[in-house]
Symmetry: C2
Subunit: 496 residues, 2 copies
Amino acid sequence: MDRSKEDSFGGSITAGSDFLQLSVEDARAGGLSEWLADRFRSAICDGRLTVGSRLPASRQLARDLGVSRGVVTEAYQRLNEEGYVAGRGRSGTIVVGAPGRTPSARPRPVPGGAVPTDAVFTTSPGVEVFDSLRAAPARIDLSPGVPDLAAFPRAAWLRAERSLLADLESTALGYGDPRGSPALRAAVADWLARNRGILVDPAEVIITAGTAQAFGLLGEVLAEAGIGEVAVEDPGSLGARQHLHNRRLATPPVSVDADGMDVGALRATGAPAVLLTPAHQFPTGVVLGGDRRRELMRWVDEGGLIIEDDYDAEHRYDRPPVPALRSTLGERVCYAGSVSKLLAPALRIGWFLAPPRYRDAVVAAKRFADLGNAVLPQLVLARLMESGEMERHLRLLRRRHRRRRNAMIDAIRARLPEATVHGAAAGLHLTITFDTGFSDVDLAAASLARGVKVQPLSWHRQRPGRPGLVLGYAASAPTAIDDGVAVIGEALRRVR
Amino acid sequence: MDRSKEDSFGGSITAGSDFLQLSVEDARAGGLSEWLADRFRSAICDGRLTVGSRLPASRQLARDLGVSRGVVTEAYQRLNEEGYVAGRGRSGTIVVGAPGRTPSARPRPVPGGAVPTDAVFTTSPGVEVFDSLRAAPARIDLSPGVPDLAAFPRAAWLRAERSLLADLESTALGYGDPRGSPALRAAVADWLARNRGILVDPAEVIITAGTAQAFGLLGEVLAEAGIGEVAVEDPGSLGARQHLHNRRLATPPVSVDADGMDVGALRATGAPAVLLTPAHQFPTGVVLGGDRRRELMRWVDEGGLIIEDDYDAEHRYDRPPVPALRSTLGERVCYAGSVSKLLAPALRIGWFLAPPRYRDAVVAAKRFADLGNAVLPQLVLARLMESGEMERHLRLLRRRHRRRRNAMIDAIRARLPEATVHGAAAGLHLTITFDTGFSDVDLAAASLARGVKVQPLSWHRQRPGRPGLVLGYAASAPTAIDDGVAVIGEALRRVR
């Protein structure tokens, strides 16, 4: 390497300001104020400074540029007279308009948010379908998959964060362990032992950005290991299937009945791995029966790999607890859970247990994905888990969700008597099916056109089946639920 | 789908407790207390309940199990007499020991943290090398790449978070836009306009988990688009190279001199894309000269793709601002930046601008990666950017970092006079090289053995070159810097 000019550390070059990349060296001697005003005019006209932006304090900018304060105040005064900026007392000097340019309000809207409602529902939904559905405006949102977000323990979260920031070592704010913060991995291990019957060493817990990331990382690792397909439940989660397809894994469908996945049918696919939701099948809500668990155990003994999506097992209303497959089948099961249904999906925190043979590869994939989850939210969550706050929150949620579930069942009985309800004993959603043949995609579209957002059951099917809807109740008040179900009833009479 | 048992919503099954998956149906009639005590004994003995765990409040557990409170208190009393648990007043009933089992302290340590120091430094570092280096114990850490973490604006962060949680809509806690929160995307667009001369519509900003994720996602997209290699600077960041290799992209080396990357040499590689650090080359610290910029512009006109890693451009001490390539070459440049050097790497927040032809693919890759960054930290950061807090913080950092840089230069002059210093005009680190031939890996290992952590320059080289070290100064106090450089001097005398 040549000895560079920086080696000399000679006479300090006048530093400019970061602000607009101003460098006083560009100015003509004697015309500093005009030069500065001109730079601001250009920035306002070409949009680098939007209406509502605040200009730097004159004292600060003068120091940064190495000019007298008068140079800056004179430039600001000129811009003021020309109508570009205005003084706003303690708020400083604000850009108010660009003459000859329509002032734009801040923050600028991000396009792509509003989607025509008729574009959301297609029979072959693409990878952006959940984004489109989320962005579609609706009066009542009965999409499945979110808990009561109004119950998020904001005060407890802030309290825990304040308390941990009070004595956090600075080095914890650097790059961290890609497997997650030791404190959260220990708290998750304890949580899984108390609540899911799973005994695991904290060293084996991998913190992920939700189960979505866990499945993506695992899919990458399995594909790399030569596995070409992962069997899935049918009906089963469209989202999970999309994540597997993204890693070029085929997803042979396996039917689900009242006892859960048909293990004989799984065997018939010849797939080396299966993704399933044993505690509360998505979307039907059935529980994997004892015989099926034993059959699965034999399949695993023959070399099968289970990927257990334990997405909402903690939410039970009127049935005994269902232990995780991981608790009985041990390290032959990949296990994924998250706080998305316990606290909020927006936290993007989940946990993953990988069998020993895949663990290092999953950790490497996580490292390359993002160098590990953000640290502060992990540490806050660890505190909430350790202090018992999470269990308190879960009890609160369960009471609220039970009332909402009951409200939805009552509403369906009264307003959609032709529907059969499935999976109401647990979870955050229920599924309804209809005996007559019609398009549930049309029903969902007709409901959305009337302001009620739901998911058609057929989205979650790979093979044809009875039409239906997947209805989330956890995030809506009982009156909204009743209202929403009534709208679905109206829509049904139109499409059938 | 068969009509499942859940369809009936018949007689409510007695709900159990999540706690240890207890189900009162397993108990023999009449022996409830003994059954319950037995369940706790097993859980304590097999490790599901560790020493220090808190048992549920008796009233709560009795309600969950549907038994009288006396059943629970009697079970707790029995466990107490047997030495398993103890009452701790308002803290409740705590597990204190498992007879016949050595009590383990909580939280259990996560193994894998401590690494033998002689295992860290090898001439061909693997993908876990930065984890190993991070985990290695050291008295003084002069690794490059982190700002002064003690300056992290904890109070401002908490204030912003409290204020936004006070009026955040609950729906914001659900699944979000995979491209990032609109508020942060707008704030980043404004930040880039003010500080990096980049004009971009917020709709084009993609929020990522740091630049590491951005390069991973882009690598995935480029490989998919048939691009097999991305030229890189030599010396250049080992970490960035590892991320490209992970996506099976070759990284032909292009030499760097006092004016930055040699564009003629880039052209000679025939690579269709290049990753570079024009504002402050890593690790040499040189700035891409004006002639080189114009040459690069011609290369882009001929179809080349630039990936600009703008990792620490905001940190300047004694040179004029360097605009981003993205500000002049526009949408033909992929641009990545982050808060890792502005606030803290632990936040895992960065931003990425992709050329139109790759944008949708990058968004899809981000969606599959993690469904988008966590929302709360994005919104907090948006507030800090909009309120001017970030600029204040940057000014504070720059003052501190300049002092630390000067301390390091002084220490090198006094204690390592044989070293040539590079790249001191900006950034968070400087690079030193030596004219004599010896192994800088040995020097780094000898320094670490004496308690000082540094990176050997050869890690960041693909082709042989002068030995050297990359020394971070931003995160260490001046006295530690002086001390650390003295130790390097001692180590040098041993290895040379």
